[in-house]
């Protein structure tokens, strides 16, 4: 039961992830300047989610965790999505 996981992430991986994150930040700032109309919010959120994914997957070590934990993470995310979704059934149709 007391297994500590053996995997130590190489520095190189972390640094590359960091560089990707910085690049994505640059992209989102640039894209925001170019007015994409209705899509601008969508792209901003998508890029943010990709960034969040990288942070979760590498920095937060999720990639190396057991499947249980990966699945559990879906629980709060789905809950939040459902809560916002159902509230918008009210807000949009009001």
């Amino acid at each position: 039961m007391n297994e500590q996981d053996k995997h130590i992430v190489p520095t190189k991986t972390f640094v590359s992830v960091w560089i990707v994150l910085l690049m994505l930040t640059a992209v989102t700032v640039t894209v925001a300047k170019a007015d994409l109309g209705a899509f601008s919010t969508f792209t901003a959120i998508m890029i943010a989610s990709i960034k969040a994914g990288f942070v979760l997957w590498y920095f937060m070590h999720l990639k190396y965790e057991k499947r249980l934990l990966k699945l559990l993470l879906l629980v709060p995310i789905i809950t939040l999505a459902v809560i916002i979704g159902l509230t918008f059934v009210d807000v949009w149709y009001r």
């Binding site: 130590i8 910085l22 901003a44 937060m60």
Partner: protein, 205 residues
């Protein structure tokens, strides 16, 4: 507070502590989730006003802070790797770097907030009340959300500070590092939330 832990539970449940930490992070997600809900409702009710209000925020400052937080996440992650490779001196250095970056973030935030407060843009300010409804709400959300995030930054810094001393005293080592790892998880979550706050407040077009 930590001497009891060592004696009270001889068998450390490494996976258990980490599971507990993740569950705690879930509650944080839902805590901020409530604010994201309020944000999205008001943004959908007042899209134009939000757009206008967001022009008042400095993209440059926001971007700088994003870069700072991302970098601090990197140093945090590296510090754990370093410790696990047995290099606790390097880990201490990287943890200190994380703290410094966190402090810089807060200083920036301080200047940003005081700038807005000088312009008379704070909750219930007479100047703000002359603006449109959406702008009032935008600034309300801005203060509450970045404020709550700021509190989390402060808590994270305190936590890392504690980890730092524990590492220096050899109480966190390459063989027993779950506390540091949990502190790291917390810090990454703070980063994660900022990743969303940044486009939602600074990049509305």
């Amino acid at each position: 507070m930590n001497d009891i832990a060592q004696t009270a539970s001889p068998h450390k449940d490494y996976a258990g502590s980490k599971l507990g930490m993740w569950l705690f992070l879930f509650t944080e997600i839902l805590l901020f989730g409530g604010l994201f809900l309020v944000y999205s409702v008001y943004r959908s009710m007042y899209p134009q006003d939000f757009h206008a209000a967001a022009a008042g925020l400095s993209v440059v400052l926001g971007t700088v802070n994003t870069v700072i937080l991302l970098t601090s996440s990197l140093t945090m992650a590296l510090s754990i790797s370093a410790l696990r490779r047995g290099n606790s001196r390097r880990s201490v250095l990287l943890q200190s770097a994380t703290i410094v970056l966190g402090l810089v973030f807060l200083v920036n935030k301080y200047f940003e907030w005081s700038g807005h407060i000088h312009e008379g843009l704070y909750p219930n300010a007479p100047e703000l009340l002359t603006r449109s409804h959406g702008e009032i709400l935008f600034y309300g959300l801005y203060y509450v959300m970045t404020g709550l995030h700021g509190i989390h930054v402060v808590v994270g810094l305190v936590l890392i500070g504690i980890m730092l001393t524990l590492t220096m005293r050899q109480r966190i080592t390459g063989a027993d590092y779950v506390k540091l790892e949990n502190a790291g998880l917390y810090w990454h979550l703070v980063d994660l939330i900022w990743i969303y706050l940044f486009p939602l407040f600074y990049l509305i077009t």
